[in-house]
């Protein structure tokens, strides 16, 4: 061993050592050698509990989302049915409310053409104004089917008034009133819809004929007589 030769280090060896003693150098080197800290063994149990509780919550979340979706669908279905009910096509015969009847009865004069023109079309969303500025919204209506009978020519305007049922029994045709004819109009209204809401028998001179042709007495709620106005 003593015979082994000695080797001389480099001249800058000390400087190299001092460089390694530099704070920043040591800092960078030792950051890679920071000790490892070990957590408690109980942590995994806490993590498992947390995962289990989250797993239990999740199905309820999914269920609540599904339930709200179904509820939304049911609500949409209900609303669409409501809309469909509101938009039902009108019946072929006009639905006349008692207020309408009152208004028409109070008209002193009207002609047939006027009465037809006063019936609103489906496309018209007509609002009728009553006394006291009360506004009633009418249901969509359609023109009634007009009988194939030849139209009555009325030179003068007609008077609308209630039918005196008492006088009907003793009615006799006066030759002077040949031009006078009786018309029976059956109108029903109310919450329950009838197949026939307005029925007319017109063009007879004897009111007894009107009675005999009317077989819906139970549903009949009003009668009016149209009488040609005498000159």
């Amino acid at each position: 061993m003593k015979s082994l030769p000695e080797h001389k280090p480099r001249e800058n060896s000390w400087e190299k050592i001092m460089e390694k003693k530099d704070f920043d150098f040591q800092l960078n080197e030792n950051l890679k050698k920071l000790p490892v800290h070990v957590p408690s063994d109980l942590v995994w149990e806490r993590i498992e509990k947390e995962l289990e509780s989250q797993r239990r919550i999740f199905p309820w979340k999914a269920f609540s989302i599904a339930a709200s979706f179904v509820a939304f669908l049911l609500l949409a279905l209900y609303l669409s049915k409501q809309d469909a009910r509101m938009e039902d096509p009108p019946k072929s015969i006009s639905q006349v409310t008692s207020e309408n009847l009152l208004l028409e009865n109070t008209n002193d004069q009207f002609t047939k053409s006027d009465s037809l023109a006063s019936i609103p079309l489906d496309s018209q969303n007509l609002e009728l104004q009553k006394k006291g500025n009360r506004i009633m919204k009418r249901m969509p209506e359609s023109l009634p089917v007009i009988s194939s009978r030849p139209s009555i020519s009325m030179n003068n305007q007609a008077i609308v008034k209630g039918l005196d049922l008492g006088s009907r029994e003793n009615h006799s045709i006066n030759p002077a009133d040949r031009e006078e004819t009786y018309h029976s109009v059956a109108i029903s209204w109310g919450l329950n819809r009838k197949k026939i809401l307005m029925k007319t028998n017109f063009g007879v001179q004897d009111p007894a004929v009107l009675i005999s042709t009317t077989n819906e007495k139970s549903e009949l709620q009003a009668r009016i007589k149209l009488k040609r106005k005498k000159q």
């Binding site: 003693k21 530099d22 704070f23 920043d24 040591q26 800092l27 030792n30 950051l31 890679k32 050698k33 920071l34 000790p35 490892v36 800290h37 070990v38 957590p39 408690s40 942590v43 995994w44 806490r46 993590i47 498992e48 947390e50 995962l51 989250q54």
Partner: protein, 176 residues
Amino acid sequence: MNQILPNSELIERVISQERKAQFQLFESTKRIVYSLAYRILNDEDLAHDVLQDTYVEVFQQLRSLKQPEALIAWMKTITVRKAIKAGKKLFEFDHLDQSQDPPDNQFDSWFDGELLDQAIRSLPPGARAVFMLTTVEGFSHKETAQLLGISESTSKSQVTYAKKLLRNRIQTLLRI
């Protein structure tokens, strides 16, 4: 350190919520996560809370990780975020008065990782968080500023401040 880096097969099993695989991933990485949280917060209880929250999120969100090789970096980012959230009230970034800085004398001592760890944990919370994020974990000053809600210049000055404190603390610890 008995650390088995997670492979793609293990990650797939964790994604499918296999409890055994989750435990395997936890065992192989818990020291990295806990050490990071503990060093940022210097509080064992808070660090354990961060550890728990981190793994719950990792197990739930792992399927969103595109690159399996980035798993550890991804977990560290989650840990940093959780630790910052847990220690938000502790972090204060006072205006640094240069006149109070310690003199920049020649450092003439040797120290190791253990001593450095002690010195890091003795830093003020704000400076410690910035030092851990930038110098130890390699976040940029911009990223650190965003994570901690401070300016980039504050991040830089806090690192300088932390290094000066570390130098003094280590010398003090060596004298004890």
